[in-house]
Amino acid sequence: MFPIRSARSLGPGLTRLDIEAADIARAALPGQFLMLRYDERAERIPLTIADADPAAGTVTIIFLSVGKTTQQLSQLRPGDAIRDIAGPLGRHMEIERVGTVACVGGGVGVPALYPKARAMKKAGNRVVSVLGARTAELLVLMDEMSAISDEVRVTTDDGSRGRKGFVSDELADMLRDETTRPDLVVAVGPIPMMAAVAETTRPHGVKTLVSLNPIMVDGTGMCGGCRVTVGGKTKFACVDGPVFDGHEVDFAELAQRQKRFIPFEQRAKEEFGHACKLNRASP
């Protein structure tokens, strides 16, 4: 069991949990993830390690509630515990000083972008964060990202904050201008966003790293459920990634593969939502 040290809401649907896991905290490196199983009946799901504090013996996860497990996790309070956590998993990201790094995050991807951007900043890079969402109130971790960025650029689909448009539009402008062109792009977000970012940087030859979060069962290289085509070869995101060269990833295939269990996911989420309402209704 892994006890919750602290739990706090960071915005609509966004939760931060500090979890007691001293050995994982000591071993964790940027870019790695955890496999969590909420309780005996739950799925195993991958979540990026947002922070690790070896002195406090805690690891931090930041997540948006999108499915049943993340909804369950969002209701945990200090003193509660998560049944199983395995990690740190995956290859860590090579963090080097390259100059200017554009850290591009969309919606649910921003929590996973944050530790990578922070590591880039710590390594002495100039970090320009390009953050986007459908609408202003869905922009997440703005304060945290601002604190570790030299510059923050914001886009919303509806123009309610920052530029009206997509993060890839903003990035395209940055690429066209020599004075703002990044030396490296790190992008985390929904699959169409990462695909658009990769296509935006490709003609400019700017290296673009993406962090993938496909469906996984074990997270240790055993099931191959997370397989993704990279450079024409099948890779397992859990052990060969999760970070890959965005110019090599077959995003169209990945998008299709993420649809495998949608009816199951919706049923689990709906039944859970229904049960929650019943609980609230009872005295």
Binding site: D23, L89, V217, D218, T220, M222, Q256
Partner: protein, 472 residues
């Protein structure tokens, strides 16, 4: 081979007793549930079966057992209803008899050597071993032991690791088993389905190891959370690596990443470890659809096919590129699969997976094969018959063509010798690797083999570790 002249001539009376039949769930019933197929012998049946043993002077059954269980001695005890003593005798050589009785390929091992099998049917040694294993688990164990010897780390809680752990704990070593998943057992947990190896029996065997003083730490991925060198630094005097062969192979043909295509590892892990067949009560999904095709001819292929059937598929087909005679699966599993209505397309090799309008698989395009000259494995090589293309329709395709070693330990243990196929190089007699104090055994050394072979490797390594730590 003629019987040795030192063996007594077969005893006509005992040999004429028919081999006891294993009581089973009826095929039509069991195909709809995940409960165990083989129900186990009664005490009377076990005694009758044991009395068939001729007690030969040179028992081949013992020679053929990778852990050299004293088969005639335990059969002799069963004959006289001394089940407790018989179970202790088995456990002295085999910490997991309830497992082995269920999953060993006895026809190639103990029973394959039984002299009775030459003219009649061999003694059902596996059935009796299972009977004793279950008997011992039901009786429970004495008070828990608390070993106080040197610390030994075991990486992986599959058959190799658990055997080494049991032996070392019994010898007084403080043993910690590190398991990457959230439940222990390795392939016994994630690979072998409940209908062949009930998970409560596995848990009971693990409970028995607990009473020997074995500590199991789950959620511990060695190579990430800790490494072999860091375990040595933190006070473990020896490490045994039994991480198995967990990386699934794919065919390398077009369409393999379509939705509905699973590695056998994924399909079975969802069904077994995650219990996805109980979706609704549990949250992990699995899909089978109306038609399932399984590619491969080993035990894993049989397991995947039978899981597909139990998930409600109307038609399940095994596609295998050689013929029945070359199938590596245990004979009993093939018969069980056939009885349950699994179709077999032998001498058939898939060439590509077909897709419908969405991204889901709709079938498997195959070529008929014929057998040519023997290949490196001694089996006749399948050769394609030109123009013989046909389609096996399927909503789910499971690729069960084998697996290789997970490279994590090899990548994170400097100085560890690994062969060109990624397996750890060891001294076969001791399991010693290129690093003093570090031993390895089971599939991570040999590639995919059997549960009992892995147990044999665990046993040899534990003896070598005791010698190493006793003398150092």
């Amino acid at each position: 081979m003629p019987a040795s002249s030192t063996e007594r001539p077969p005893d006509g009376r005992r040999a004429s007793l028919p081999r006891q039949r294993m009581p089973e769930q009826e095929a039509s019933v069991r195909a709809g549930n995940f409960s165990e197929v083989a129900l186990g012998l009664s005490e009377e049946m076990a005694v009758t079966e044991a009395s068939r043993c001729l007690d030969c002077k040179r028992p081949k059954c013992v020679d053929n057992c990778p852990v050299a269980v004293d088969v005639p001695a335990f059969l002799s005890l069963v004959k006289t209803h001394r089940f407790d003593e018989a179970a202790s005798l088995v456990r002295a050589k085999n910490s997991l008899p309830a497992m082995c009785g269920r999953v060993c390929p006895q026809e190639n091992q103990c029973e394959g050597g039984c002299v009775l099998g030459k003219k009649h049917e061999p003694v059902a040694i596996g059935y009796i071993e299972r009977f004793l294993g279950d008997y011992a688990l039901k009786r429970g164990s004495a008070a828990a032991a608390t070993p106080d010897g040197p610390k030994v780390a075991i990486v992986g809680s599959g058959p190799a690791g658990l055997t080494a752990a049991g032996d070392l704990a019994q010898a007084g070593y403080r043993v910690t088993v590190f398991e990457a998943l959230h439940d222990a057992g390795g392939v016994l947990r994630y690979g072998i389905p409940n209908f062949r190896l009930p998970k409560d029996v596995l848990s009971a065997e693990l409970g028995y190891l607990g009473t020997l003083g074995v500590e199991i730490r789950v959620n511990a991925v060695i190579g990430r959370l800790f490494t072999v060198p860091s375990l040595m630094e933190s006070g473990y005097r020896a490490v045994f690596v039994g991480t198995g062969a967990g990386t699934p192979h794919f065919l390398g043909i077009p369409g393999e990443n379509l939705n509905g295509v699973y590695s056998a590892n994924e399909f079975l892990t969802r069904a077994n470890l995650m219990q996805a067949y109980r979706f609704g009560e549990v949250d992990t999904p699995i899909t089978a659809g109306r038609r399932v095709a399984v590619v491969g001819g080993g035990n894993v292929a049989m397991d995947a096919a039978r899981v597909g059937l139990r998930l409600g598929a109307e038609e399940v087909t095994i596609v295998y590129r050689r013929s029945r005679a070359e199938m590596p699966a245990r004979a009993e599993e093939v018969v069980h699969a056939e009885d349950e209505g699994i179709r077999f397309e032998m001498l058939t090799n898939p060439t590509r997976l077909l897709q419908g309008s969405d991204f889901w698989v709709t079938g498997l395009e195959c070529l008929r094969m014929e057998l040519g000259e023997p290949d490196a494995s001694g089996r006749r090589r399948p050769v394609p018959r030109p123009g013989s293309e046909f389609v096996v329709e399927a909503d789910t395709v499971v690729i069960a063509i084998g697996s290789s070693a997970n490279p994590l330990i090899q990548q994170t243990t400097p100085g560890l010798s690994v062969n060109d196929r990624g397996y750890i190089v060891t001294d076969p007699a001791t399991g010693l690797t290129s690093i003093p104090g570090v031993y390895a055994g089971g599939d991570v050394v040999t590639g995919s083999a059997t549960v009992i072979d892995a147990m044999g490797a665990g046993r040899r390594a534990s003896a070598a570790i005791q010698e190493y730590l006793g003398s150092s």
